[in-house]
């Protein structure tokens, strides 16, 4: 009798697992990067179970994807990481017939230079790199150029980003506005490094950091900070004295995209999931939850005037035109960038 009850109990426990086990999609996304209610909605509408997993850095993500083939069906790398995955032959071609909602994506983000032909990635969230400044302390005219970060007027009030590509990229533009942020000319890179050391030793920089600066700016602890647009939006919502600008010389535009690894076991479900994310109401829900900018034009329309007219969330065409994507650097150049940047970080302030 006892045995039978046990067997029945086990069977009862197995039942829901069996019912869901046939249709799954394994999603690997950034931490805090989706409205979780959307996942339930997807499960209800399609009957496909979502296994949702999270990562915090592109570099961690690529290790997981490469060492666990078949574990993930949809992954969300940044643009240069899309390029690296593609170059290593790790991306499946997406069947866009299954993604009719791709039509909602902004035209200027389609067919990007990091995925020529746009066969392997669907943009999920995007934004720019720029300057978050306190309007009470900083002249709006000054932040139209990156040179504000070298302007003695703001000595000791600049919060720089401790990020290899971003900081070197800005200095490259300062060294010569003609430079690409993906520059592979050692003379220019050297000049960029010298500019950063000069900036540090002239006492311009208050501190180097990443995540903590949006809160520092909200608390009024600095006049200028180099940030991503999503963080700028977060800070501006909390402190109305703050504003965001993308300097005239140009900047970086970043895109986190949905891709399907070549090892994916549920490719069709993955495409269904990506299509679902491109639906205007779903994309809008995600934007409202995480506060980043969606590449989904229909979703921005749905969100209304407040979002459409917000230049931080929704950069103008002119801003987009002067920005460029980061491209993946090969190991040789990455090492050269790293060595030069390390010299900046170790330079002594007197």
């Amino acid at each position: 009798m006892k045995k039978m009850i046990c067997a029945l109990l086990i069977a009862a426990l197995m039942l829901p697992v069996c019912a869901l086990a046939d249709e799954v999609v394994n999603v690997f996304n950034w931490e805090d990067y989706i409205d979780e209610a959307v996942l339930e909605q997807f499960e209800q509408e399609t009957g496909i179970k979502v296994n949702y997993m999270r990562f915090t850095e592109n570099e961690d993500m690529i290790i997981s994807v490469e060492s666990n083939p078949g574990a993930f069906d949809v992954v969300f790398p940044s643009e240069y990481m899309v390029e690296r995955l593609f170059n290593r032959g790790e991306l499946a071609e997406i069947n866009f017939d299954n993604i009719p909602n791709f039509a909602n994506i902004r035209e200027d983000l389609k067919n990007p230079s990091y995925d020529p032909g746009n066969a392997h990635s669907v943009p999920y969230m995007w934004g720019t790199l720029g300057i978050l400044y306190n309007t009470k302390l900083v002249d709006e005219a000054d932040v139209q150029s990156w040179s504000v970060l070298w302007n003695p007027k703001y000595a000791g009030q600049v919060l720089m980003m401790d990020s290899l590509r971003d900081t070197m990229g800005i200095a490259l533009i300062m060294a010569d506005p003609e430079n690409s942020m993906n520059c592979t000319d050692f003379t220019q890179l050297s000049a960029a490094k010298d500019l950063l050391i000069q900036q540090k030793q002239a006492g311009m920089v208050k501190a180097y950091g990443v995540d903590e600066f949006k809160d520092k700016m909200v608390a009024g602890e600095g006049a200028l900070a180099v940030v991503y647009s999503g963080d700028a939006e977060y800070a501006i919502e909390l402190n109305e004295d703050l504003a965001y600008a993308v300097p005239q010389e140009g900047s970086n535009i970043w895109v986190d995209s949905a891709v399907i690894p070549i090892s994916a076991k549920n490719k069709e479900n993955a495409e269904k999931f990506i299509d679902f994310l491109c639906r205007p109401d779903i994309a809008a829900a995600n934007v409202q939850e995480i506060g980043y900018c969606s590449p989904n034009a229909a979703a921005i329309d749905l969100l209304g005037d407040e979002y459409q007219s917000n230049p931080v969330m929704n950069p103008s065409d002119e801003v987009i035109a002067r920005c460029e994507y980061y491209h993946d650097l090969d190991e040789t150049w990455l090492n050269i960038y790293t060595t030069l940047y390390s010299e900046v970080l170790s330079a002594k302030v007197n």
Partner: protein, 329 residues
Amino acid sequence: MTDLQLPAWAPWAMGIGLAAFIGMVALSVRRNHGVKRSLFAAPYTLWMFIFTLLPCILIAYYAFTDANGHFTFNNFSSFWDSNYIMRENLRTVAGDEMAATVARGSVNVDTLVYSLWMAFLCTAVSLVLGYPAALFMADRKMRLGPTLVVLFIIPMWMNFLLRTIAWMSLLEDNGLINAFLQWIGIGKMQLMYNQQAVLLGMVYNFLPFMVFPIYTSLSKLDPKLAEAAQDLGCNEFRTLYKVTVPLSLPGVISGITMVFMPSVTTFFIPRVLGGGNTRMFGDLIESTFKTAGNWNLGSALSLIMMVLILISLSILRKADPNGEGGGIV
């Protein structure tokens, strides 16, 4: 982060180590026809092997190999000349002429020297502040002594990261201290993101490691010795520096080691309170592993630091051969 690729022999080494360990246990059981007392130490031996010895072997392995696992001294050349790898890379992509323009980079050596200097400062300040504190705590005539001990211990129940972050809200431009300075009319000062703030954070975090060894050796002192000195005509001050201080030296040496070692390897405090303006060797090692993804160079840097610490330990051991200061050295 880079891919964690253990050398091919790592699983073998672990396996052989385990087998040897089990063999030794089995032998000792057999030989003694029962469980030997030292067998109770077995879990600790195993623990030390897996989490102390094996990682050290791995660090040494990485330090002497390149990314492909071939034996090389290049990582140590890179320590001396931080531009070494970059110059080699430039040779392949920009030609010899461009590579020749790159001079010797002193980033790694300078950072190490700076770290040693900061650790020296931190130890010196901790000693100056810590010795009197330990004297008060150990003084039997002081009612406050035991209370002081508790006050020193309580903050240590909190994680040191939290305590360091808490300093930020004190030192910030709009923080508590600046608000007070403004209130009394002195005006705001830049207290954070400089060397002094880092030193403050280090002394704050490591001071208990100086105070407690000294306190231990002071409280073990026989009070009759001081009384005898006074009977023989010493005044209080003379008693202190002729009797008490020399007898507490083992504690002082232990304290110096306990403060100096974590100071050299600090890596969180300079980032939070120094804001990246004062990079120390610990930060350099961390970014070599994480940002640059160069595990081989990172291991070489760690190895150099470990050797330096071992050397300083052995020098200090000479000064306290019996391990009277708590036997830490």
